[in-house]
């Protein structure tokens, strides 16, 4: 990992950043010690894969199959990605202000200053 400061954080089950030490996370102590995988499903062609949740599986092949059973049984998707949860580097909640707040007052970054031509709906 490139950023040693974030090595103690990972993403688990879509919770954003979860510490890997000091608090019970379920990581490494799940039943039978199967690793955790994050699951991304593309709902239809042309859309991107979206995070839908996580699961336990002994390896990548079984993770894809478990994801099929857990997350696509009601026709939710046409494609599945699985990623080892430990391989995801998450931003730290402590850095939230520095990371995200400065964008709040830069309204000129939003495309809201254009005059919309007449006759153009749905813009």
């Amino acid at each position: 990992m490139s950023d040693p400061a974030n090595e103690h954080l990972t993403a688990e089950g879509g919770h954003g950043a979860v510490p890997t030490t000091g608090v019970p996370t379920g990581i490494g102590r799940s039943a039978r010690d199967w690793p955790l995988w994050e699951v991304f499903v593309r709902s239809r062609r042309g859309l991107s894969h979206t995070h839908v949740g996580s699961l336990h599986a002994p390896d990548a092949e079984m993770a894809v199959r478990n994801a099929r059973d857990l997350y696509t049984r009601r026709q939710e998707g046409v494609s599945i990605w699985v990623v080892p949860a430990g391989q995801i580097v998450a931003s730290s909640p402590d850095e939230k202000d520095a990371f995200f707040d400065p964008a709040a007052d830069k309204i000129y970054r939003h495309p809201t200053f254009y005059d919309i031509p007449e006759g153009v709906d749905h813009l």
Binding site: A31, D59, R65, N66, R73
Partner: protein, 257 residues
Amino acid sequence: MTAVPTGDGTAAWTYALRLGDDALVLAQRLGEWIAAAPQLEEDVAIGNIALDLLGQARALLTHAGELEGAGRDEDALAYFRDEREFTNAHLCEVPNGDFAHTMARLLVFSTYQSELYAQLSTSVDETLAAIAAKALKEVSYHRDHATQWVLRLGDGTDESHRRMQAAVEAVWPYTAELFEADRLTDELVVAGVAADPVAMQPPWAAYVTAVLQQATLPVPATVPAVTGGRRGVHTEQMGYLLAEMQHLARSHPGATW
């Protein structure tokens, strides 16, 4: 309805009943794993497979009831027949055993069903052909799931290898019954209704043997078990299975939720 040639008029409905009973009884067995599988994920996987089989059973038993023409629907056939009237193969009714046994049975049975439904998808019985074409995709997944587990457990630790091998040896004697021909299948194969059980055996053996070899498991050389499921003669475990499956429907006939 396509006119299905049947010698004594009961062959076609008995055949649909056999296929339906296989799926129904194995669905009931697999349902026992729900909330008892090694992992939550496997609970859902086995549950999905059981529900696929139950769906096949519903379609096949409904079709059997229509062919019989005595007014029996899927529920009447599933819940209000006694043990001697069930025509499933013994393989489907024997207890689950441990997880390895369940996966060994699923491997041999879903491989059989893959061959069966592939053949039946061109049956002259159009309803049977449609049911088979839909079910073929489902059982391909069942076979894949079982294959993945047999490979991992067979080629895993010493303990998993030992237990997977014991499981394959335990289910192997029951596989012969799946490929048994009798007067009924002979007649229906000629009529183009049924899949030829004898012709299904070589491709079945080729697939299962390849999986076992890759899983470092020897192919068992056990003697086939005594058969009789197709004639309504079952193992001692069948009565307990039916008691659990039929209890509610018989205690409260017509109950809905």
